[in-house]
Amino acid sequence: MYDTIIIGAGMSGLAAGVRLAHFGRRVCILERHRAIGGLNSFYKQRGRTYDVGLHAITNFVPKGTRTGPLAKLFRQLRVAWEDWALAPQLGSAIIFPNAILQFSNSIEVLESEIRLRFPKQIDNFRRLIASLHDYGQFGQSGANRSTRKVIGEIISDPLLAEMILCPVLFYGGAREHDIEFDQFSILFRSIFLEGLARPLAGIQRILKMLASRFKEHGGELRLRAGVAKIAVKGDSVEKVILEDGSELEARNVLSSAGFAETMRLCNESQPDDQPDGRISIVESISVLNAPPRSLGYDRTIVFYNDSETFHYEKPEELIDLRSGTVCSPNNFAYPEPLDEGVMRITSLANYERWASLDKESYRQAKRDWYEKLVASAIRFVPDFRAAVIETDVFTPRTIHRFTGHAEGALYGAAQKRHDGTSHLKNLFICGNDQGLVGIVGAIISGISIANQHLLK
């Protein structure tokens, strides 16, 4: 009998596992896939290792900073700065027609850009920052305020409002068009007031550290161990039944598989809480024969949109070519350069469209849309096509296959379960559906749900 069974070895499940195992609990993490990481994994193809999720770690603060989510995460998981060796971004930009706003890990850069490009808005922008909710207020206000409405009341130039929303929605918008002001506050802080960084060795370094910590403390990690069913007795989980038919018992179950997905495992029918459609994406990876810098490109991330209005919605087509993000993992301030140049482009995509293709059309669509995606992005970054030596594309279908998240959803349900509880007294929820998104958000979610409910 385990103290806790954790479903999923993504960031949140691993983080919760480290906490519980560290304090002597008997824990088993069950992961369906043959690798750990979930939405943030890595894979090998033709001799190269690719990160799936990671563009950048958000919430970056310089070494020695004692407050904020990253410092909290480090202390809770007993991480020393050098364990992650984060390198800060070089500088990013939001690019709309006739307007560019550059930003870096110091908010002064964005402020001076706004002062230049939107001189009448700088005081309003400062007011917006002053009105952001604190991390401590997260999930407590319950006000459910629309960010578009709040921003609209503060920022009187719609173009600036769209430009501010674009990166925030791309990095954490669970539903179409808008985001709760609470979530917006957290994401805005994590991207603009704190900042972006990346470990030299990519996401592998963080995943390996979490997994080895977990095992050192006696935790059990089982791969290819998908949970098929959560058997319920009265108001509790009785046991967990795996896809191979074996059964496991635990006093508590913590699931990072997603709220709706977890309810399905319990055989609970779920009212669809996602009437707006889930947001999913496609990502292309281009490996270059030279660093992007040598092509005149030294931005870390570019968020682009080709009209004055940003449409954050599930597209009709396979991919929405109007907007996207370009990330070059090379453009962080590392002590030594990466081996190869890489450009990654992410755009919104339609899960059903990708899912309905047969095998051959799927392959063909990946090839065709790679070309279209790159052609769209080079309107905003230098044309790197002549330097490409290897490409890969992953789609909403890939995300669905490797994480089990319905419709390849990136940032979980729109309606978060802030307290991490469920209809059963010993079943808890962590990860994207609990409230916090992104890598740091998922880790904090795993930590705080473990602390609140499983370490008492």
Binding site: R66, K72, R75, Q76, R78, A80
Partner: protein, 85 residues
């Protein structure tokens, strides 16, 4: 454990929680909260580490006794005197 042993034990726990902190200049009677900006999650961790390592139970309403190094050692001394180092 003597007061000096307890002090070392607490330093060891603090070092695990915040490996990047230089604890050599830690002041006896200035709150951890001020010196290291520890928050309630960190205090809970100190309590849990003490329980894990030395099996000392600290009731929730007495967590405030752990405010500084001085107060922590004074509070723990009678409670840990029979514990082997």
């Amino acid at each position: 454990m003597t007061a000096a042993d307890i002090r070392v034990a607490i330093l060891d726990i603090l070092h695990d929680i915040a490996p990047d902190e230089d604890l050599s200049g830690l002041k006896e009677d200035v709150p951890f909260r001020e010196q290291l900006e520890l928050d309630s999650m960190d205090f809970l961790d100190i309590v849990m580490e003490l329980r894990k390592r030395y099996r000392v139970q600290i009731p929730e309403n007495e967590y405030t006794e752990l405010a500084s190094m001085g107060s922590t050692v004074r509070y723990l001394e009678p409670r840990m005197k029979d514990i082997a180092k």
